[in-house]
């Protein structure tokens, strides 16, 4: 993938990711999150992970974001009223986040492999759905079934949580 496209999609992803945090209106945040995930999915495809890129769009930009927008609509949330910001907490939170990024930056800087480019693929065809599915049903068969149980438990939990009045 050409560096121009990489930086373009990375820029789109980061700008709209920041917009999620900065926006005051929850609906604007949710829609920025969709654009951010589209950029992320393009980055996945630039890494030849087409299957992951597609399910990123389907699951996140499709299902999860519809769920978010549905809840925002259900709760009838409007733009937040401005409250007094706790300045110490704000500056402290920003400092911790910046410290985390500096840490990540220095670790990546020390990593020798980080300066190398990606090796070209040596295979004639890319059937990554086939390969991911094969691994999923052979090596990772037990985790796959456990994930199925987890999703079932989550479904039951959501029904119970939203049905009964919590006292």
């Amino acid at each position: 993938m050409s560096p121009i496209l990489f930086w373009l999609f990375a820029f789109v992803m980061l700008v709209f990711g920041a917009a999620v945090v900065i926006n005051r209106n929850p609906i604007a945040s949710a829609l920025s999150l969709v654009v951010c995930f589209m950029g992320l999915s393009a980055l996945f495809m630039s890494l030849d992970a087409f299957f992951i890129g597609i399910i990123q769009v389907l699951v996140y930009a499709g299902a999860v974001m519809v769920l978010f927008l549905f809840i925002i609509m259900l709760l009838d949330l409007r733009a937040e009223v401005r409250r007094k910001i706790n300045l110490v907490a704000f500056v402290g939170g920003l400092a911790v986040a910046l410290a985390l990024f500096v840490q990540i930056y220095s670790v990546v800087g020390q990593l020798g492999a980080a300066k190398q480019g990606f090796p070209p693929l040596r295979a004639a065809k890319m059937d990554d759905v086939h390969n991911v599915g094969l691994l999923l049903f052979t090596n990772y068969n037990l985790p796959f079934q456990i994930i199925g149980v987890l999703v079932l438990v989550a479904t039951i939990g959501v029904v119970v949580l939203s049905k009964r009045e919590l006292r």
């Binding site: 980061l14 980055l43 992970a49 999860v64 769920l67 709760l75 986040a97 980080a114 990554d128 939203s162």
Partner: protein, 106 residues
Amino acid sequence: MVTLGQYLIVSGLLFTIGFAGVLLRRNIIIIFMSLELMLNAANLSLVAFSRFRLGANGLPNYNAQVFVFFIITVAAAEVAVGLAIIVALYRARQTTHVEDVNSLKF
């Protein structure tokens, strides 16, 4: 040439944005969206490593992509449960502001 380090830095930036969102915002739905940003930043670095270290057949290392698949599934389940909890909270307290919910007692 795009290097592995550039993907890792972009992923770290996305993680930092999500982390800052969790720390700075007070609206519980925005905090939840920031959590999703952090999960996806981890996914990006996993996929970058998967493409970087090719398997014996010259294809990407698909173990990492299976891991990403699992993360996406767990994240979807987590969103469903979390949003149900937010709806229950809103019914009980009529607020989504975390500073209005500061006691464990219902």
